[in-house]
Amino acid sequence: MDANAAKLIGAGIACIGMGGAGIGVGLIFGNFLSGALRNPAAAGAQFTNALIGAALAEGLGIFSLVVALLLLFVK
């Protein structure tokens, strides 16, 4: 296999990590929503915490995107 093909395959494999971030963000908002429906009065105050959690989970997915971009574009 030539080096360029291996790079492209590696970039594709690296992007699988974004799926994990998707699961994480979905879990956070899903659990936030089920909690908010049980106790709507407390939901507003916790929305910021949900956003922080989603941002932190999403950041790890962005790492895998960056690994893919580095493989593709850094010579």
Binding site: T48, A55, G59, L60
Partner: protein, 250 residues
């Protein structure tokens, strides 16, 4: 090639480049848009606060919402000692928000889609956390890496993990904003590209191009949401990190 999705992120000089001590320095489109962002933020807030009516008009309510959004965030996360940091958080939020929003206009340059801009902001924020923490608490600030109530046997491991997670903060803070903006604009461009290449196929392609056109419209709406959300997240994570510097015992 104009149709490739990366082309929109090209930086090109508008004035210059001049050769200053062996470095090429130019006034680029990125610099131009940073200037426009500052003008928009300052101009809008001056305009919104010019009337100072007791019952706010439309413009003034937007200005007040903008201000109180950041003010409540700083109050909630940092508490009362956070007041000196309100101008910083407000400036960061406004810059990132207007940069993201201006980037949504066609042919406009998105400043925050360049990792150098977002990483500079993030490194500045985390550097400030270290400086403020050591200024407020002296060397006791390093207790941040030694959580209380952890058994002595695994304390070195936990400290190492805490230290690595602290070091990854500027990386994740900068890359989150950069990655979201870059990926969003590439996706928009790719779907717009589908429309163009399907229409080029003829009448059948023109009918088929309706689906990606609707997708592009829906994604534009989503991107406006992401543009606001990422500015909000950047500001709130700045507050959360500053909280570590102000209140170490946790």
């Amino acid at each position: 090639m104009v149709n490739d999705p990366i082309h929109q992120f090209r930086i090109h000089p508008i004035l210059g480049p001049w050769n200053v001590f062996g470095q090429e320095i130019a006034f680029t489109n990125s610099n131009l848009f940073m200037g426009i962002i500052v003008l928009v933020v300052v101009g809008f807030l001056l305009l919104a606060s010019s009337k100072k009516a007791l019952v706010p008009g439309r413009l003034q309510s937007v200005g007040e919402m903008w201000y109180s959004l950041v003010h409540n965030m700083v109050e909630n996360v940092l508490g009362h000692d956070g007041a000196p940091f309100f101008p910083l958080v407000f400036a960061l939020f406004s810059f990132v928000l207007v940069a993201n929003m201006l980037g949504m206009f066609p042919y406009f340059f998105t400043v925050t889609s360049h990792v150098i801009v977002t990483a500079s902001l993030a490194v500045f924020v985390v550097g400030l956390v270290v400086v403020v923490g050591i200024y407020k608490h002296g060397l006791g600030w390093f207790k941040l890496f030694v959580p209380s109530g952890v058994p002595l046997a695994i304390l070195p491991l936990i400290s190492l993990i805490e230290f690595i997670s602290f070091l990854s903060r500027p990386i994740s803070l900068g890359l989150r904003l950069f990655g979201n903006m870059l990926a969003g604009h590439i996706v928009l461009k790719v779907f717009a590209g589908f429309v163009v290449s399907l229409v080029a196929l003829g009448i059948g392609g023109a009918i088929g191009s309706i689906a990606p056109l609707f997708m592009a419209v829906a994604l534009t709406a989503l991107e406006f949401l992401v543009a606001f959300l990422q500015a909000f997240v950047f500001a709130i994570l700045t507050c959360v990190y500053l909280n570590d510097a102000l209140h170490t015992h946790h």
